[in-house]
Amino acid sequence: MKHFSLMIRNLSRRPGRTTSLILLTAFLAISVFCGTIVVSSLRRGLSSMENRLGADIIVVPAEAESKVSMKNLLLQGTIGTFYMDASALEKVRETEGVEKASAQIFLSSMKADCCSVKVQVIGFDPENDFVVQPWIAESLNHPLGDMEVVVGCRVETDVGNSFRIYDKSCRVAAKLASTGTGLDTAVYCNMNTIHVLLQAAEEKEISHKIDSGNDSEVVSAVYVKVLPETDPALVNNRLNGHVRKATAIRTAGMMTEVADSLSGVSRTIAVLICAVWILALIILFIVFSMMVNERRRELAVYRLLGMSRKMMSGMILKETALCSFTGALCGTALGAILVFPFTALIETSLKLPYLTPDPGSIVFYACFAIAVTILVGCAAAARTAFRLSRVDPGTTLREGA
């Protein structure tokens, strides 16, 4: 206890030195904590996207890719409205190697009363859907009824509220869990509802340009699951040849593209963290080297009064650990303030699936950042502690007496 109070006095009466140590270690902790959270959020986002996608191939109208990138549609919620003849679904089902096929119809809401911007409305067929339903089932325990919608987690409305799209009122039946992708900003309904909404859009003379004539005979995309042990690339080629005016896109390619971007971002973050660490370590070593001369006389007094070498090294390391702990705690708290409230901003800036880790993992990463920072602080101080513990009190106290 007396040692501890001695340590506290040493630290509090050298505010400049103590503050600079705390600031440096806080800087280290911020970089570790924020870097780890961002990278793990990106990894979690990618794995969530893989889990949610469920399809091996997506068939869209040939002109769709020129309108909007499917990757952006999925990742950033970019509005995409494109249609093809509903017969495409049957043609897909007829194709060899296709196990399941399910159609979806996209519609972009106008400035619906829900929002100040457009949202993507996605109509799916509950009878043969295998893409959206398993995911919706986590939040909804009954089949989605007519004029009922399920909203993504980023659409700010609550279950039970009514939701107006093209002056048609829809009831919010469920709100989905976060996926970290653009699907979080979409609204889901069944085919009957989407047809009502398409009709309403036409009545409002909102041109969605349904070239195929009757809106009940259109689909926007067909999601395909290939038979087990069938090469999706082969089926993809067959679909491109078999379904006219349509393009089949392999989701694996899309995922690879996303994974590549993710590893690029992860690498950049890792390089940045390394740079911060190298810089901070150099500064820490300089600070501690300067401390050798500054504290030589003080520690010679301790030695003179009977402090052993081990006790002196211990005291320096404990002081450093205390400063590093304070810095790490402040840094982690500041990092949390920077990284969590601005999740949406980070997500939209990185343009990659981003899903914040669960609270347990966050606590683990925080503890990891604190532990690593304390370890690094102590490692930087170890050489100084060793050198100072070798101080010869007789000679030192005579110098400049």
């Binding site: 001695l6 003080e298 009977g306 009190p393 007789g394």
Partner: protein
């Protein structure tokens, strides 16, 4: 209690000069006994401080041994020697020996803080009053004069009440009145059963001594 040095020498190596080493202390034997105040005088550079550091357990002799009763100081591990020094040997060095981040009072109580136990607050108050620094108890070392710092170091050692007190030029920064006060305090300590060694190049201390030793060119004459 007896502090005994047997044929201790200390050689320093020189990088420059004709000889590649010089002997600061040459085969010195000396005994300090409890209840006696010994004064060691000699010219500057005669090896007094080196000898004091060696018998105080701070500087390993190149040759010879130092015994506190039957304990060979330099045969001990650093941990045990440090603990022994803390409890039984008090050294008052020549230069400034204050911890700048602690107040005068905290500096005086510092030896008691290192290994736990009760703090000798009453003794601290007493020696601060005797040495005339009681009004400086909350002052920081940076605010003190050389003489005040010296009295603080003396008060610290006397408060810790070790069996052996080794003082290196303790009256160097002091005026006549304070010199008398300090030397009287050392005499009292010796009468109380301590073994006191005062190293000085002045003759003031000799009047208080039970034993006077003279050192010249690294040897005691």
């Amino acid at each position: 209690m007896q502090l005994r040095a047997e044929n201790i020498s200390r050689r320093y190596f020189r990088k420059h000069g004709e000889a590649n080493f010089f002997e600061a202390v040459r085969s010195v034997s000396l005994t300090l006994e409890s209840g006696k105040l010994t004064v060691l005088n000699g010219k500057s550079g005669s090896g007094k401080t080196t000898l004091l550091n060696m018998i105080g357990g701070l500087l390993n002799p190149s040759e010879g041994k130092v015994f506190l009763d039957e304990t060979d100081l330099y045969a001990l591990e650093d941990k045990d020697l440090s603990r022994l020094r803390s409890k039984r040997i008090g050294v008052i060095p020549q230069g400034r020996s204050a911890v700048d981040t602690l107040s005068v009072y905290e500096n005086i109580l510092l030896p008691g803080m290192l290994y736990g136990g009760t703090l000798r607050t009453e003794e601290a108050e007493n020696w601060m009053t005797v040495l005339g620094i009681s009004d400086l108890r909350n002052a920081m070392p940076a605010e003190l004069s050389g003489g005040e710092l010296r009295r603080m170091a003396i008060a610290r050692t006397l408060t810790a009440s070790p069996e052996v007190i080794l003082a290196d030029e303790p009256t160097g920064d002091l005026d006549n009145e304070n010199t008398r006060t300090v030397l009287t305090a050392f005499q009292q300590a010796a009468k109380a059963g301590k073994a006191v060694l005062v190293v000085s190049h002045e003759t003031d201390a000799e009047a208080y001594a039970d034993q006077i030793l003279h050192m010249s060119h690294g040897t005691i004459e």
